[in-house]
């Protein structure tokens, strides 16, 4: 367990530091803009007036908009998941597949978060604040944990021994 935690912390620190560098931001910034467009695409069937520009989602009629900042693009959540999968003893194929599917799962829930916050903000700002700053942050981490646990449980039988973890 201690070995797992140490490897996890080393990988997490490395990935997090890499995210903050200019090359890391060169990936994160366009990704955040894509996330804004994906969110608009998801709501367009029932709310076609919503628009996205850059990392902003806006309702042009009310003027209300939300901007997707660091911590809201689930990049850190994905980094935490990748670090946990890489640190856990498992076949490389399982790690790569798990990271790919896991990131999709985390980002999918994050699109739900962005959409829900966009509408909560138009309804009540105090509820938006609570959901934005605390509830969704915790839920996304819970999502990461559950994805990681499902990944562990789905490990090929011959390698599913918790040695060193």
């Amino acid at each position: 367990m201690l070995r797992f935690f140490l490897i996890f912390l080393v990988i997490l620190s490395g990935l997090f530091a890499a995210e903050l560098t200019p090359p890391g931001q060169a990936v994160v910034t366009p990704w955040t803009a894509i996330l804004a467009r994906l969110s608009v695409l998801a709501v367009s069937p029932f709310d076609p007036h919503v628009i996205a520009y850059g990392k902003v989602i806006q309702n042009p009629s009310s003027g209300f908009g939300v901007t997707i900042e660091a911590g809201c693009n689930a990049v850190e959540a994905s980094i935490i998941l990748i670090a946990a999968m890489l640190a856990f003893p498992a076949p490389w194929r399982h790690k790569v597949l798990g990271a790919a599917v896991g990131i999709l799962a985390v980002q999918g829930v994050n699109v739900l978060r962005i959409i829900s916050l966009f509408y909560l903000g138009q309804w009540r700002m105090d509820v938006f604040e609570f959901a934005h700053l605390y509830l969704w942050q915790a839920l996304i981490m819970l999502d990461v944990l559950v994805v990681w646990l499902i990944w562990i449980r789905a490990m090929p039988m011959q390698s599913a021994t918790p040695h060193g973890a």
Binding site: M1, L20, L133, Y134, Q137, V144, L149, I152, R153
Partner: protein
């Protein structure tokens, strides 16, 4: 084939989380008090030269400094303004209800003892976030005129920025989950064992 125990765990955690968050938010003064007090001790202890007082009330921690804020020329001539940084400790302590929800959902023994222990262990991580938030405001956000009075070198300011990012984006969520896993070491081996036993049950017995 049996039911996946993770579904029950996830459902319980998802139900406990809003309840724990609501209680934590309602009684924020109680649950955030320890981290705010420890942050005050740290700031006063590390920077006695410019920290005058640290005040904690309701949902705001205020750092009163002796650092002078430059005045706009022609406005309030002859008066002196000092820097007061404010932070919301709740941004760094919401890991406590997450930890509580995980502990209650996993239904393990000695959960109340572990809850108290976990709440104590989380305090340094919460204080990390609060202190770096206040430091970031003083050393970076307030501008070069205020930062120059603190004596921070450029690399110290870079470290403050990194510490702030870590304390905001990583520690509030990672610390409670790592702590929960550390206090609940049987969870993953039990999960693997349960999967292995279930896998055996899936195969037909040899003729």
């Amino acid at each position: 084939m049996g039911r996946n125990p993770l579904y029950a765990f996830f459902l319980k955690a998802a139900l406990w989380l809003p309840l724990c968050l609501a209680l934590w938010y309602w009684k924020a003064e109680w649950f955030n008090g320890p981290a705010a007090i420890v942050s005050g001790w740290i700031m006063r202890g590390l920077f006695p030269g410019w920290v005058q007082a640290v005040e904690w009330s309701q949902r705001t921690i205020s750092l009163v400094t002796t650092l002078r804020v430059p005045m706009v020329p022609g406005v309030n001539e002859g008066k002196v303004a000092v820097m007061v940084a404010e932070a919301n400790p709740l941004l760094y302590t919401y890991g406590l209800p997450l930890f509580a929800a995980l502990l209650l959902a996993s239904g393990e023994a000695k959960r109340w003892r572990k809850l108290v222990l976990g709440a104590l262990v989380l305090i340094p991580f919460q204080a990390w976030g609060i202190c770096f938030d206040l430091l970031k405001q003083v050393a970076i956000t307030a501008g070069p005129a205020v930062a120059a009075q603190t004596g921070f070198s450029p690399w110290q300011r870079e470290s403050i920025a990194l510490g702030y990012q870590l304390g905001t984006l990583i520690l509030p969520t990672v610390a409670p989950v790592v702590l929960w896993l550390a206090l609940n070491r049987q969870f993953i081996p039990a999960l693997v064992l349960e999967r292995a036993l279930q896998g055996k049950g899936d195969f037909a017995p040899p003729p």
